[in-house]
């Protein structure tokens, strides 16, 4: 290992390429600094500063969308920017911006430190962006663990609520378990590849290209297959795929609502981004193993998610369980991406619509949260449409989009996925997906019903008295943001052109 080589490696550390992540991290640090130097009465602006910073980073990414480093190995092969990475950056930034916004609604209700919330959200977002750019398992694992540990904290953020802490602990144990499993998978992959020397330069199984190259020549290597599958298991935990979906409802219910949104949207999307990268760039030669595995996972995920959601009345759990089924649909897209190249676009399109709709719904939920954040049932929605027609409308649009009802964006997402699945000839999965969508209509429609049709009250839980709802009336900016989300959902459903044009098909 010569110094020259090391120098050349050091030179490939193109920090500018990671401008958005660095800006985000610096801004996050800046928040902490602001908390120290600003007088107490001015600290209430910190959340807005955080949002402005994120918005600026977002704009930076959008304006530098075709950045010069696309497709190059940076940081000695740790990082590789791709068009999908750019899409992911935008996605995560939009998501974190909205989560921060939800935080500004939610946090003032508590007597908890606030700045740390935004700080961690921003750092986690930056880490997620790095995760998606990773081209190397060390980078991958470090970024992933940063995300995970950030989420440990965020999930248990409302530490004065025992249920939140319970959720935090469950997430902690299961997250650590899945990390361990995933780590073992990485280790096996590393071991399987061994040492590869090209032109005197040593490569290992940590590098995606090397691994891919190795697998191409040894598609039957047991260690590699086992490692790949354990890795997939770890990712399955992130996206909430069967049987690693089991933590989702509990953690979603316990976590603070903005964090539930963060988990549901960003964390899941990060998982899918990673899975797509792995499947499309690394594990391509393992299609023979991965396609059946992922197909079974997808089918089971759809079924389990929808069935369990059917009778769920706690809305946060419902979002979790229905989110599981969405993960199942998305997995179909991932499976299809083995044979249909543009499946990746379809998955991202779906994720985009899912972001808009979920955030709209979580926004409404945040406003509806009573004193106990963990206890939000359909009963709270009983008079929503009458008392707050705006929130009711946003909820209807969001839930409708999640259910995949035209002319809302969610429908377009499902449509593209179905087309992809058809082109990949995944007929059994399609059948299961259709069944799942039909089932999902039941509970999504039930939600809308409980918001709009006052008289509705199923016999099962009729005994519990309707909890007192404490709806926060949205501020103007809140209305604006939620309205924008709903409008975007509607417009993308009718005119999906912008998003689909923008995605690198």
């Amino acid at each position: 290992m010569t110094t020259d080589y090391l120098k050349s490696v050091a030179e490939s550390n193109q920090w500018w390429a990671l401008g958005p992540e660095i800006m985000l991290a610096c801004a996050a640090l800046g928040l902490l600094v602001m908390e120290i130097i600003l007088p107490k009465k001015d600290r209430r602006f910190i959340p807005y500063a955080a949002m402005v910073a994120q918005a600026m980073v977002l704009l930076t990414v959008i304006f530098n969308f075709q950045t010069t480093w696309l497709g190059e190995n940076l940081f000695g092969g740790l990082i590789k920017l791709s068009p999908w990475g750019q899409v992911a950056r935008v996605f995560f930034l939009v998501s974190s911006l909205l989560v921060s916004f939800l935080g500004t609604i939610c946090l003032p209700r508590t007597k908890l430190p606030r700045v740390e919330f935004y700080h961690i959200v921003m750092v986690v977002t930056a880490a997620m962006m790095l995760l998606v750019h990773s081209n190397h398992f060390v980078m991958f694992f470090v970024a992933l663990e940063t995300v995970t540990i950030g989420f440990y904290i965020l999930v248990s953020y409302f530490r004065d609520n025992a249920l939140t802490l319970e959720a935090g602990l469950k997430y902690l144990v299961l997250g650590a378990l899945s990390s361990a499993i995933m780590l073992f998978g990485i280790v096996l992959l590393y071991g399987a590849v061994g040492k590869v020397s090209v032109n005197g330069i040593t490569h290992t199984g940590f590098e995606f290209e090397t691994l891919n190259n190795f697998l191409r020549h040894h598609p039957d290597n047991f260690l590699a297959i086992a490692g790949a599958l354990l890795l997939v298991g770890g990712v399955a935990f992130k996206i909430g795929a069967f049987p690693f979906q089991i933590w989702i409802p509990d953690v979603y219910q316990g976590a603070p609502t903005p964090i539930t949104a963060f988990l549901a949207v960003s964390s899941k999307a990060a998982g899918f981004a990673v899975l797509l990268t792995l499947v499309n760039q690394v594990f391509t030669p393992l299609a023979g193993v991965l396609v059946p595995v992922l197909s079974v996972l997808a089918a089971a995920t759809i079924i389990m998610g929808n069935l369990a959601a059917l009778t769920q009345r706690n809305t946060k759990r419902l979002m979790g369980l229905s989110g599981i089924s969405h993960a199942g649909y998305l997995l179909i897209g991932v499976v299809a991406s083995f044979t249909v190249p543009w499946a990746t676009s379809a998955v991202w399109f779906y994720l985009g619509t899912y972001l808009l709709a979920s955030m709209a719904v979580f926004g409404v939920m945040t406003y509806l949260t009573g004193p106990d954040d963990t206890n939000q049932t359909l009963d709270h929605y009983e008079h929503l449409a009458k008392q707050h027609p705006f929130l009711g409308g946003v909820l209807a649009v969001g839930v409708g989009s999640l259910a995949g009802i035209p002319p809302l964006a969610g429908f377009m997402g499902k449509l593209l996925l179905f087309i992809v699945a058809f082109q990949a000839e995944l007929y059994p999965l399609l059948a299961i997906a259709i069944g799942g969508v039909v089932l999902s209509i039941y509970y999504y429609f039930g939600w809308i019903k409980s918001a709009y049709f006052e008289a509705w009250r199923p016999a099962a839980t009729a005994t519990t008295a309707a909890p007192q709802s404490a709806i926060t009336t949205p501020s103007l900016s809140g209305k604006l943001i939620l309205g924008l989300l709903a409008l975007a959902t509607l417009l993308l459903g009718c005119y999906p052109g912008p998003l689909s044009d923008w995605l690198p098909f």
Binding site: L169, L177, A236, P243, F244, I246, P292, M304, A308
Partner: protein, 623 residues
């Protein structure tokens, strides 16, 4: 005037009248009545002009629907048969319009009534003029509809509403076969145009019988006769027009129209059905108390005569020419049936209108045992009614005598059994008509209504007089053949010994029945037959009610129960057990799936273990 235009005018005028009444004259009863009657008059005049202009078989057809090769066209076939029928319909129709002016004067819903009459005229004329079976079917149904409207005119009376419904539905049952027959005819012959069919067709018993179903429904032949007696719930002019003179005769007209399609097997069936209907109805008529019901059963019986005549009259002649056997069907039945149809239209309309006059005079009393002695109080009605009665029982010299003779002769020639039954029926006819006549007009008034009866006004008596005249002269060859043209040639005429036999038989039969009734019935409020022959009376009543009972039983016990059963299966099994059950099952599974989220961390770790194990198994290649 172009005959096509005239025909169109005849057909469309009543439609125009009906439309105007429906849209604008709903509350102007007098105007509506006037318009409708004026239109009827205009039709009568135009028809007269058309019939005597000598124009026949002028081409007139318009394509009305085309889908692929399937074309439905509407057009006219105006031959002598149609001309005869047109005469009957337009002329009797007009007279009945006039009669209704008086009869319905006090009715609140007069506009609706006359509107209905106009629709009826339109539909009936459509049948008469139609040149193909689809068109006949269209107007056939419309006739049924207008009949429904008119029977149910007094819809606030449950019986009237029920009767209207029954009439429509029973007719639909007949039309079930009719439509199938038409469609089958269309596919086997490629056309349903009457002229084209006449030129070439594939003989088929099934087609003939299916088409006869339609005729049986409309002409109330066994076993579809049940609606006609009930239809008397409608106003009396309606009974006269629709349920005596024209609509019920449409079945006969239809048979004559499709005579070319008939085959011997089908004709035998038709003959027996007609004969049995004649007998059955005559038997039923004997025990009726309601003046209109008697006439209704009498109509049924006479329709049976006509159908029997049609069934009888087709001789199949075989003769060889050059080794090829030719079969020829001679439509003597058409002539006999149409002849009787015409005369029957006159005297039955007369009888119904007469009964209407009686009912009107007696303040809507219809029970003949509560009448009596009307001879003096309603002289004009009495005289005309008497003429009608004589005509129907076959008094020589009156119209009915000639037409009935023709049928009996045909029966004698063709089938002795049928002849015997028809003769017996004739005895019965004479018996119940004289019974009716005696109980109504002779003796003393047996109720207040009858005691204070009064003669009807001019609008009502004038049609009676005209019809009475027609009932006298309608049977003479000179009169009939003027109208009927070629059809008159088809009427079988007895000659020589047969002539004498028929003459004597009918006279004897008439006298036997008439004298029996005259002597048997006393002027009393109870039926003498019931008093003296309790068993026979009961048998006859039972016979009359048997069909209704059977149908009621079928509807209430079979059809409705089947419907309830199916509904039960649908609600309980399909919508309930299957769908709700499936829903419940899925919900249950949902609860099951939900209960997997036990909240226990250890369980969750087991899930992870399971997942890892499964993935490992995949890697090892167990799956």
């Amino acid at each position: 005037m172009n005959p096509v235009h005239t025909t169109l005018l005849i057909l469309l005028l009543p439609l125009f009248s009906a439309a105007v009444i429906a849209l604008g004259l709903r509350r102007q009863g007098a105007w509506a009545a006037g318009l409708s009657t004026a239109v009827a008059g205009a039709i009568a005049i135009l028809s007269w002009q058309l019939i005597f202009s000598g124009q026949r078989n002028f081409p007139a057809a318009w394509e009305w629907l085309r889908l692929g090769d399937f074309v439905v066209s509407l057009g006219f076939k105006f031959d002598d048969l149609a001309a005869l029928m047109l005469f009957v319909v337009s002329f009797v129709g007009f007279l009945i319009h006039v009669f209704s002016l008086g009869y319905m004067r006090a009715d609140a819903a007069r506009a609706r009534f006359f509107g209905g009459l106009s629709i009826f005229m339109f539909s009936m004329l459509g049948i008469v003029l139609a040149d193909n079976l689809f068109m006949i079917f269209i107007f056939w149904e419309l006739v049924g509809f207008s009949s429904y409207l008119l029977i149910g005119h007094w819809h606030e009376r449950a019986a009237a509403a029920e009767a209207a419904k029954k009439a429509f539905i029973v007719n639909r049952v007949g039309d079930f076969g009719f439509l199938l027959g038409i469609i089958m005819c269309y596919w086997s012959n490629g056309t349903v145009n009457l002229t084209a069919l006449g030129a070439q067709h594939v003989p088929s018993t099934l087609i003939a019988l299916l088409l006869f179903c339609g005729a049986a429904g409309k002409s109330a032949q066994l076993p579809l006769q049940v609606w006609l007696p009930d239809a008397m719930e409608g106003p009396t002019p309606v009974s006269a027009l629709i349920h005596a003179a024209t609509m019920v005769a449409a079945g006969i007209y239809l048979l004559c129209r499709i005579n070319v399609l008939m085959v011997p097997d089908a004709l035998t069936v038709i003959m027996w059905i007609g004969t049995l209907t004649a007998l059955y109805a005559a038997l039923c008529a004997v025990v009726q108390r309601d003046i209109k019901k008697v006439l209704a059963y009498s109509t049924l019986s006479q329709l049976g005569y006509m159908v029997a005549a049609f069934g009888l009259g087709s001789f199949t002649l075989r003769h060889e020419m050059g080794g090829v056997v030719h079969e020829m069907v001679i439509a003597t039945g058409v002539g006999a049936a149409m002849f009787h149809l015409t005369t029957h239209a006159f005297f039955k309309a007369l009888l119904f209108l007469g009964s209407g006059s009686v009912i009107h005079g007696c303040h809507h009393e219809q029970d003949i045992f509560k009448m009596g002695g009307l001879r003096a109080r309603m002289p004009l009605t009495f005289i005309t009614f008497t003429l009608g009665v004589l005509a129907i029982i076959g008094m020589p010299g009156l119209a009915g005598f000639f037409s009935k003779d023709a049928i009996l002769y045909l029966a004698l020639e063709k089938n002795t059994a049928v002849f015997a039954v028809l003769v017996f029926t004739a005895v019965l006819t004479s018996f119940y008509m004289i019974r009716l006549w005696k109980l109504t007009f002779w003796g003393t008034a047996r109720s207040d209504h009858a005691a204070h009866a009064h003669e009807s006004g001019l609008t009502m008596t004038l049609p009676l007089v005209v019809l009475a005249v027609l009932s006298i002269i309608g049977g003479y060859a000179g009169f009939f053949s003027r109208w009927a043209g070629e059809v008159a040639d088809l009427v079988p005429e007895a000659t020589g010994a047969a002539h004498t036999t028929i003459w004597l038989v009918s006279l004897g039969v008439m006298l036997m029945g008439a004298s029996g009734a005259w002597l048997f019935y006393a002027s009393a409020e109870t039926d003498s037959l019931e008093g003296k022959f309790r068993l026979g009376f009961r048998g006859l009543t039972g016979l009359q009610e048997s069909f209704d009972r059977l149908y009621t039983y079928y509807v209430a016990k079979v059809q409705q129960r089947l419907a309830m059963l199916l509904n039960f299966i649908e609600q309980i099994f399909l919508a309930g057990l299957l769908i709700r059950g499936l829903g419940g099952f899925v919900t249950l599974v949902g609860y099951g799936a939900r209960s997997l989220y036990t909240g226990s961390l250890h369980t969750y770790v087991y899930w992870f273990l399971l997942g890892t194990a499964l993935l490992w198994a995949f890697a090892v290649g167990i799956f």
